[in-house]
Symmetry: C2
Amino acid sequence: MAKITTQSPLAPTRFPDLPVIDGVRFATTQAGVRYAGRTDVMLAELIPGTAIAGTFTRSSTRSAAVLDCQEKIGGDASSGAAIIVNSGNANAFTGTNGAKAAKAVVTAVADTLGLPEARVFSSSTGVIGEVLPDTRITAKLAELKEGLAADTIEPAARAIMTTDTFPKGASAQVTVDGQTVKIAGIAKGSGMIAPDMATMLVYIFTDAKIARPALQSLISAHTQNTFNCITVDSDTSTSDTLIACATGASGIDVTGNADFATAMHDVMLDLAHQVIRDGEGATKFVEITVSGAANDADARTHALSIANSPLVKTAIAGEDPNWGRIVMAVGKSGAAADRDLLGISFGNVRVAENGWVHPDYDEADAAAHMKGENIKIGVDIGLGSGTATVWTCDLTHGYIDINADYRS
Amino acid sequence: MAKITTQSPLAPTRFPDLPVIDGVRFATTQAGVRYAGRTDVMLAELIPGTAIAGTFTRSSTRSAAVLDCQEKIGGDASSGAAIIVNSGNANAFTGTNGAKAAKAVVTAVADTLGLPEARVFSSSTGVIGEVLPDTRITAKLAELKEGLAADTIEPAARAIMTTDTFPKGASAQVTVDGQTVKIAGIAKGSGMIAPDMATMLVYIFTDAKIARPALQSLISAHTQNTFNCITVDSDTSTSDTLIACATGASGIDVTGNADFATAMHDVMLDLAHQVIRDGEGATKFVEITVSGAANDADARTHALSIANSPLVKTAIAGEDPNWGRIVMAVGKSGAAADRDLLGISFGNVRVAENGWVHPDYDEADAAAHMKGENIKIGVDIGLGSGTATVWTCDLTHGYIDINADYRS
């Protein structure tokens, strides 16, 4: 959204070692779309036959690039493919001029790499409302093509950052019939995070072989309990995009393989958690688990109501085990709840049970948990067996600093 | 919620002159419920025949006092009545002990004033999760009865404050058949403001004569476009209560009178606006009008999505005419919108039209509007004739200060 600030206190110590995924090569450049002195365009080239699936924001004001990707997902996969991403400009709410700019980039990438346009997927992230300066990107395509290399996924993760304070990557390796397939993913996201389908920009690559519909089912299902379960500020982006690419270069078919499905889930969840750890102004990573709801949908509604409550989020920032605000957030959510059945815990500390403070509750114990960096809030609705877990961060002066003072 | 901070910069210069309403007397005292050195209990006594109507929070975790009031509204009005309110403790999420404490106060008030319990309405506001120390209140009832007077509505408005930085009052006078009826109301509220039925604590008195069902219809309808159209932080209280009392002391029947209905609406809207002007940390009063939506419900959904967006609210705090964030908030709301039909204005400055920036738009004009204290945001969805107006404030460091550092 705005300028890059100092690194989040919740950042991992370093970017993880991601495996090289056969069948995909990356290149990055400084195109000066908006930022100076840093990379802001990344190109990924994929071999013929790569299965590509995606999930996208459900915003009714989604960007030109998102609309274009949505049209293309599911098409013929026989040729090679490419993903072109720029940071600094979201090219959202830019009308027909924005659509033309997005198409100009896609056409130029297709020409440069000898691909059909239908196999070129583009994403743009950054300021809303300004038409993408497409020629700054297209002028760099020859250079990008020259620079394509298999071992440069970390620079790719850096080039797509906006207010992110650290690049985000995750990987997994899965043994299938004695052979190994690899998954590596990168993501960007820090503010305007309340996914309603996929979120932010996420690119996941695997050398596994998998039928496209199977890959799509897998990421659609996993999106529901990973990216769609995180929220920084309840604000949903116009540009949210997740694209998963299975190059098949390993020759190992993972269609229907449970271990692969689990590994893909783990990579997605890891990336989703990294987005929260880079939440604008975040100082606490918060996991909220709701159990005992009438059904899973109600549990999710309660959990997101808690996660999006400014009063809950500021209490966490203040290290205050303020369970009254949890009660409030459950009460306002609209999902079924009975005040006199509610149970609440912070970490392992049982705070409330059956609608009132637990007889053994000692606020000092809960306060000690709130001082940690990783906060766990448990809420038992006491009505049924519905459960949900969501992740969020606290609401601090840092969020106001980032968003009140700079144009996103 | 927390401590009383310095006065809101949006506060009116002084408490308004409210007319004495025949048929109601007020008293206040320092009961030490939670606060020291200030009044925290107010008692209002109403003459026999007073019609009493109310609207209440729809939270599923509403407080004992709210549940008790909801049961009583609509009962026999032949006897006198009373309203007893304390600040400092909401007696919410306190289970059966909380219900007993609320009943103890009601019973004692009924005994002290010689009223049936069914005509004693109580409210509690303040910290959630602690049982009301009812004896601190009941010990003061004799003193309160002694102190009842007709011209002390301003002290009553002060006694019900929590994080409010100024007392809130509004009035109207209506001429009916050449005679005058009066309306006076008081309110408290500053944080945890996103009404879902009525909001906060609001007490409105009139000497008009009106049938109770007519009074109820009137305030229920007006609540929809006054208190239910404001939001400070999207968080809905467990204690929201609005009680309207028509003493009938003037002898003038206003049932069905349009001027009275308008005056009641104006008093309610005035009080609702004062709550926003005292929004925690507020430096801007923001009016958001959505037109051209598919229907009024959609317009309201869009307007509240904008009003509750942390990114919109921080942009306003930063005096940034950031219309990209308005687009985002419309897009995420879930109500129907077409990106390419959207129009947006700040004050009289037309920013965007048909899905892109207006050709004559000069950001300096919009920036000038954003520097003012009263911000107007207009959004035309371009789809139909649905409209809605809601009011909110900006999101500032002051909100974080108030809510991260103190227990509500």
